[in-house]
């Protein structure tokens, strides 16, 4: 039961083989047993979860169930959830109970999914290892001495350990795809603007995008169908016709042109990861796809440009956490300025402070043109690179991360080494493109992720392509040892 896909779970619920209450109890029991070891959740609310599952069962009895009704779900703790503590894994919001639901939360609730808990994450989504959480590090279910990736590390660990069948994530520079890769999952960052950012606590507004994390492409398609949609409360939400993201799942791959950016297979890529990705590409060729060499010449500028733009936006977005209206306020302070300084010094962890400082610096008078304006120009160049590449291919593939999961603490003292973990994923955010990661094998017994990047709004094709691969491979069904 715990390894079933969303559509299999949906079928079991529809056939009455199991009720939502039973299914929810099953996963709650797994959370109770495994979470103390993994620390994937910040909040779990059994009563609310069971209440929601009873409502889902009632809805099914009334004949109003949809494909996801009654299936348990976890939200990354970056999504505001009415009546739930919503912490963003920060001391700053340790006791913040949201008075409203994020759009994505509303959408999945409307689909009838049962929220069991809020998952751990890097503080304010800043990190690639889930080691910056105020609520403690998350461990990788494949090996609890390793990181699960980040920032959606709690969601990834929870699904990988089969504590929930699916979860939401957010991806600003790879925060869905990289943990999906490191935990052997499928995760999709949609085109910027597909999922509303309303109620998703902002890290870097022009890069943040919500997306599904699950075991398979098909699961992600079903989730995205529920999550996506125009929302007037987010000015960057796109008003597009409703789309069925599962519509191309059955599409054969014959003739599909897969672009392989030479920059993604260069120095810095682990040999084992390289080999697993190569094997996956061979599988795609067997399924009828052709691979073509393409170039993304400005790839090397993605990480530096990102580490100007994302901190710049973050430094401003996080200004609202000032201890005045909600959130952490220092117990003792002198004047107003002292209240700000102490509250923020106590409320934010070191990585968040580092990025606020970087962002404040790059926006400062005299530096703005040299950093922020230049970074925005690079951003356009990177988007142009992809446009040019997509003249020669339908989708781009490569490794999601340069290596498999690394040991806890291995990179936490070297921010640049940590930032380089997102070297392949950041460009999609800068260009607003959809990107996903699917499991494509193992290196040193740890999952390897294959990244697929598509043109804007081509999620359905990406999901279809991944699904065809998953019909012919078992990597996405592999479970961490000991489950």
């Amino acid at each position: 039961m715990i390894n079933l896909s969303l559509s299999e779970l949906g079928a079991a619920l529809a056939a009455g083989k199991i009720s939502s209450v039973e299914l929810t109890q099953l996963f709650l029991a797994r959370i109770a047993r495994e979470n103390p070891r993994l620390n994937a959740f910040i909040s779990v609310d059994e009563e609310r979860a069971l209440g929601a599952s009873r409502a889902a069962d009632k809805r099914r009895a009334q004949g109003n169930a949809g494909p996801l009704t009654g299936i348990p779900l976890a939200h990354k703790d970056i999504f505001c959830t009415q009546g739930w503590r919503t912490t963003c894994a920060s001391r700053m919001l340790e006791n913040f109970v949201s008075p409203y639901d994020a759009h994505v939360v509303e959408q999945l609730a409307a689909a009838g999914m049962v929220l069991v808990g809020k998952t751990n994450m890097d503080e304010f989504a800043m990190g690639s290892s889930n080691e910056t959480s105020y609520f403690g590090i998350v461990k990788n279910p494949w090996d609890d001495k390793l990181v699960p990736g980040g920032s959606s590390g709690g969601s990834a660990a929870a699904i990988a350990a089969r504590l929930v069948p699916a979860a939401t994530g957010t991806d600003t520079g790879g925060s869905i795809r990289q943990p999906a890769a490191l935990c052997g999952l499928t995760g999709l960052k949609p085109t910027y603007g597909i999922c509303s950012r309303y109620g998703m606590i902002a890290f870097a507004s022009s890069l943040d995008q919500a997306g599904p994390m699950a075991k398979s492409a098909e699961d992600c398609a079903l989730m995205l169908n529920a999550m996506a949609g125009f929302d007037t409360r987010d000015s960057t939400s796109l008003d597009r016709p409703v789309e069925n993201y599962a519509r191309l799942l059955g599409e054969p791959l014959a003739g599909l042109r897969i672009g392989l950016p030479r920059e993604y297979f260069a120095e810095g890529l682990d040999a084992g990861v390289h080999a697993a990705v190569d094997a996956a590409l061979e599988q795609f060729r067997k399924l009828g796809a052709v691979t073509v060499d393409v170039s993304l010449p400005n790839s090397g500028l993605a990480v530096p440009a990102y580490y100007v733009i994302a901190p710049a936006e973050a430094s401003s977005n996080l200004s609202r956490f000032d201890g005045v209206r909600y959130g952490h306020r220092a117990a003792e302070y002198g004047d107003l300025n002292d209240m700000y300084c102490r509250s923020r010094a106590e409320g934010f962890g070191p990585e968040v402070k580092r990025r606020i400082l970087i962002g404040t610096y790059v926006l400062s008078h005299g530096y703005y043109d040299a950093y922020y304006v230049q970074a925005q120009k690079i951003r356009r160049l990177i988007a142009d690179d992809f446009k040019a590449a997509f003249q020669h291919c339908d989708l781009i593939m490569g490794p999601t991360a340069p290596d498999v999961a690394f040991p806890l603490g291995a990179k936490s003292s070297d921010p640049v080494q940590m930032y380089l973990n997102d070297i392949y994923t950041i460009a999609a955010n800068l260009a607003g493109l959809p990107g996903m990661s699917i499991p494509c094998g193992f290196a040193r017994n740890l999952p390897v992720g294959l990244q697929i990047v598509g043109p804007w709004f081509d999620e359905a094709r990406m999901l279809g392509t991944a699904h065809q691969y998953q019909l012919h491979t078992d990597w996405h069904r592999s479970m961490p040892p000991g489950l």
């Binding site: 505001c80 606590i201 710049a312 996080l318 005045v324 404040t360 400062s364 703005y368």
Partner: protein
């Protein structure tokens, strides 16, 4: 040394929208603290701004009214600083790409018919949100925060440094105040802060081409304070320069109690606002059709109306300017003329400017609250015009109409028997009686005292209860006395 004063004004006009510029909360003045502040206004985590198109309508309307350029694409930027009444830690404003550029305003300096005309050029006008209010009294050493005003739409209107005296600055502020009310984008209520000015003031030796160093006087919310503050500041700056000192660029506050300006912060401790384009808002795109739509709904502007009053009604420049002080007044006058007939435009103007103005002034009423309607006044003007009543009786009828003693002038004239006596025989009898009854006056008149003639006219008018046709009385009396 002869000094020249240079003044530029930055004016914040609160736009007359029902809801805030980036949220749906109401903007009405005077509500209990914090009841008109929604999640967006208090900057909850995850909330996002959505632009109120009505505020943009107002900006376009203003741009068109002053002959400025409406930017086809303008950008909202974040102005970052910490203050408890600024919930997000930044103000959404426009910085490098404002919605309106250029334009001008013609002003009249001085009173009456010898007022001088001058054109003040505008630099720009941009949209932004207001902050909340900090209340430092009544909280036992703490500060209260009221966020009702946070997010209220403002149009910041920046003039070129074209004014050369406090009188010009006040004339500009008055003209701008009249215009924003005229085009209906601001209620102009200065006590409530709907219209407030910052004055940039510098002095330079007469004939110099370079500007002196300026100091900015913040937040002047009455025309009187504007005048007083500038006058004080100019004397202060001249004093410093004549003593061999230098002016340091600074922001200063005006204290109405002392009549003095006092430096608030110098250039050195000026904020670095770290402006950058707000990634939560798309650029504001104004297509020609939107401009056309606003133009179509635009009332005739005061300059055009003044010119038309001169052309169509033969009014003097002074009369035309007086009658176009506000749109309500101009509309009242035009309704009056429409009912009275165009040939009576000048007497209509006189009645409105003299009798009605005095009455309203005494009762502290606005033209919209006039106790006599434009049609009622027109009826009165017609009866004076066609000789039914004299001008003096007209004033009685005017008072009677204002006091609600009758539905229209005719009814009052009939009911109170005020019709003018034009019967030559009846007048002759009264004239004879006056001559017979006042031999002393007759004697004085014959001795050359013109004043005695007026006394005799007065006797006749008194005997007729004011109803005798004064012209006939004059003629007949003179004829009889000289005959």
């Amino acid at each position: 040394m002869q000094w020249e004063v240079v003044i530029g004004l930055e004016t914040h006009a609160q736009l007359a929208t029902e809801s805030k510029i980036f949220s749906g909360a109401a903007t009405a003045f005077g509500a209990a603290p914090n009841v008109q502040a929604c999640g967006v206004d208090i900057a909850l985590p995850g909330v996002l701004p959505v632009l109120n198109r009505k505020a943009v309508d107002c900006a376009i309307r203003f741009g068109l009214a002053v002959g400025g350029d409406i930017a086809p694409r303008s950008v909202f930027a974040r102005k970052n600083y910490f203050y408890p009444d600024l919930p997000k830690g930044y103000q959404i404003s426009q910085y490098e790409a404002p919605v309106v550029s250029g334009g001008s305003l013609s002003i009249r300096i001085g009173q009456g018919s010898d007022a001088q005309e001058k054109t003040v050029r505008l630099t720009r006008a941009h949209l932004e949100e207001d902050a909340g209010k900090s209340l430092h009294e009544d909280f036992q050493g703490k500060s209260g925060i009221d966020l009702n005003r946070a997010g209220t739409p403002l149009l910041e209107i920046v003039s070129e440094p074209d004014m050369r005296s406090s009188a010009e600055a006040v004339a500009y502020a008055r003209a701008l105040h009249a215009l924003v009310r005229w085009i209906g984008i601001c209620d102009g209520n200065m006590q409530e802060g709907s219209f407030r000015c910052d004055a940039n003031v510098s002095v330079r030796p007469k004939g110099a081409s370079e500007f002196g160093t300026r100091r900015e006087i913040k937040n002047l919310n009455s025309f009187r304070f504007l005048q007083q503050a500038i006058d004080y500041e100019v004397q202060w700056q001249i004093g410093v320069l004549e003593d061999g000192g230098k002016i340091q660029q600074a922001t200063v506050l005006f204290n109405p109690d002392t009549g003095e300006t006092r430096a608030m912060r110098s250039k050195e401790d000026a904020h670095d606002y770290r402006y950058f384009p707000d990634p939560d808002l798309l650029p504001l795109v104004i297509a020609p059709a939107w401009k056309d739509q606003v133009q179509a709904a635009m009332p005739e502007l005061p300059d055009a109306m003044r010119e038309r009053f001169g052309r169509d009604y033969g009014l003097s420049a002074y009369d035309a300017a007086t009658l176009t002080a506000t749109l309500d007044l101009a509309r009242y006058f035009e309704s009056c003329v429409a009912a009275a007939g165009r040939e009576l435009a000048k007497p209509c103007a006189n009645w409105v400017m003299v009798d009605l103005a005095a009455r309203l002034n005494r009762a502290e009423l606005d033209i919209a609250q006039s106790p006599i309607s434009a049609v009622q006044l027109a009826g009165l003007v017609r009866r004076v015009g066609d000789g039914t009543i004299s001008n003096a009786i007209g004033k009685k009828v005017f008072d009677a109409l204002c006091n609600g003693e009758g539905a229209d002038a005719d009814a009052i004239i009939e009911a109170q028997g005020l019709r003018q006596v034009n019967d030559a025989g009846a007048i002759e009898a009264l004239v004879d009686a006056a001559i017979a009854g006042n031999p002393k006056s007759v004697e004085e008149f014959r001795a050359g005292k013109e004043k005695a003639f007026q006394a005799l006219v007065g006797q006749v008018m008194k005997a007729s209860k004011g109803k005798a046709n004064p012209q006939q009385v004059n003629e007949l009396l003179r004829k009889k006395l000289q005959g």
